[in-house]
Every structure is written in structure tokens, then in C-alpha cells.
């Protein structure tokens, strides 16, 4: 009788272990494709909010999203003509991003920033700092960097920034409970 019970318990333990290994982690995976201020702001609020709830956060910046991570004070040398053009035409960092709607030649964006300050909403720059402190993981799409001619040296200083491909994103996303495309 005892042997049977032991075997059953062992079987259940094995099944439980198998089930546990397929459970998604307490983690959120966010792709930031957009380079619009309002959308990027939303992604950073979600990222820091998730960290406040002890959820792991992995962000993947690609295409226009990479422009947020440019450092406005850095200007790397050695770019070819196309890269220089892209670099010039695209916003150089978080302070230069525009609203997705109602930008109105920059007026709308300025108005929103003013409102945010008035209502004590953290700026994008503040949120990036907070994200770094709270361990939000930032990964940058290497391909986007290549396409737009950005160099690693012109990106902001952020702890443990990695340059990855879609495989890394899909791996991270696959083990996360929540996946967002912003």
C-alpha cells in the first residue's frame, strides 16, 4: 500500500515539476517600435510601474524607438553619408521626441511637457533614470542600429544595455506573462 502511494506521489511530483517549468515568468516584455514621445512615455510608465510590483521588465527598442536612446551630447565620428543623413533627420534622444498627434509644429509637444511639469508627472528623462535604478532591462535591436547608421558610442549610458536580434526578443517574450508592442 505504502509503495503504491509513494509511486503516485512521485508521479505527481514529476508532473508538477513539468507544469511549473512551462509556466510564464512574472515578467513583462515590451517592444518599443515607436519613437513618438507619448508612446515612449507610456512604455516607460508601464515599465517602471511593473518594477514597482516586482515584475521583471525586458524592453526591446527597435526602429524609431532606438532614437529615444541617442545621447544628445554624443557625436561619434566615422559615419558614412547615409548614416549622417539619418542621424540628422531623426530625433537625437528623448528630449527631441514629438507627440504622435497634435504636435502642431512642436507647439503641442511643448504644451504637453509644460502640463506634465505642472501636474508633477515625471518627465521621460526622469523615468529613464528611475528605470535604470529599478533594473528595467533595455535591449536594442542591432539591425535597427545598422539600418539607421547609429553607433553604440552615441547611445545613452544605461546599465547593462545589450545589442540583440529578434531571437533574443522572442526568447524573452516567450517566457513573459505579458507582451506589449508599442
Amino acid at each position: 500500500m505504502s509503495m503504491e502511494l509513494e509511486n503516485q506521489v512521485k508521479k505527481l511530483e514529476d508532473q508538477l515539476k513539468k507544469l511549473q517549468s512551462t509556466q510564464p515568468k512574472d515578467q513583462i516584455s515590451i517592444i518599443v517600435f515607436s519613437g513618438d514621445l507619448d508612446k515612449v512615455l507610456a512604455s516607460m510608465i508601464i515599465a517602471t510601474g511593473a518594477r514597482a510590483m516586482d515584475t521583471e521588465v525586458k524592453m526591446f527598442f527597435t526602429f524609431w524607438g532606438t532614437t529615444m536612446l541617442r545621447d544628445k551630447n554624443k557625436s561619434p565620428k566615422g559615419k558614412d553619408f547615409m548614416s549622417k543623413m539619418f542621424g540628422f533627420m531623426l530625433p537625437k534622444g528623448s528630449t527631441k521626441l514629438k507627440l504622435s498627434k497634435l504636435n502642431m509644429g512642436g507647439m503641442g509637444t511643448a504644451m504637453l511637457k509644460g502640463l506634465m511639469k505642472k501636474k508633477n508627472v515625471s518627465s521621460l528623462e526622469d523615468l529613464i533614470k528611475i528605470a535604470a535604478e529599478m533594473g528595467v532591462e533595455i535591449n536594442i535591436c542591432q539591425m535597427s542600429m545598422d539600418l539607421m547608421g547609429f553607433k553604440k558610442e552615441e547611445m545613452i549610458d544605461y546599465p547593462n544595455i545589450k545589442y540583440v536580434g529578434v531571437g533574443s526578443y522572442l526568447s524573452d517574450a516567450g517566457e513573459s506573462r505579458v507582451q506589449l508592442f508599442i
Binding site: I45, T48, G49, R51, A52, M53, D54, T55, K119, N120, V121, S122, I130, M134
Partner: protein, 83 residues
């Protein structure tokens, strides 16, 4: 806990989240919870609707006990006990 009970609580730590906007209150709560011991009581002051709903959910996720809230004229006092 009744409103009377809540009104009489002296919290071990008070987080004034009235000035900040989302995600400020959650970040403040997360930081503050590290300052108190298990079993101690934290009070969060909030002036916005969002936070009033966020804090109980945050407690649920973090396994702290949400004790209840008390509304005053201009803000809400939310009480929780650290797990």
C-alpha cells in the same frame, strides 16, 4: 476594519503620494515598504482616483494586507500591513 478603527491607526510609515502622478505613488510605496518591518503598518496618502485603485491591487500582487481606506475632504488615506 471599520472606518473608526482605521482612523485610529498610527502608521509606522506614511507615504505622501499626493503630489506625484502615475507611476509615482507605486514607486513611492515600493520604496517605502523597504523601510518598515514585516507586520508594520504603512499609510499612503493619495489625491487621485487611480492610486486609490492601484494600491489595493499592488498589495495583492506583493502579498501585503490591504486594511482599508478613509476619505477626507481632499484626499484618501490608504492603510496596509506589510507581509
Amino acid at each position: 476594519m471599520t472606518t473608526e478603527d482605521l482612523k485610529n491607526i498610527t502608521a509606522n510609515f506614511i507615504v505622501d503620494a499626493r503630489g506625484t502622478a502615475c507611476p509615482g505613488p507605486l514607486l513611492a510605496a515600493k520604496k517605502a515598504i523597504g523601510e518598515i518591518e514585516s507586520g508594520e503598518i504603512m499609510e499612503v496618502l493619495s489625491a487621485d482616483e487611480g492610486t486609490k485603485h492601484d494600491i489595493p491591487r499592488w498589495c495583492e500582487k506583493m502579498s501585503h494586507e490591504f486594511l482599508g481606506f478613509v476619505d477626507t475632504d481632499s484626499y484618501t488615506r490608504l492603510f496596509l500591513k506589510k507581509a
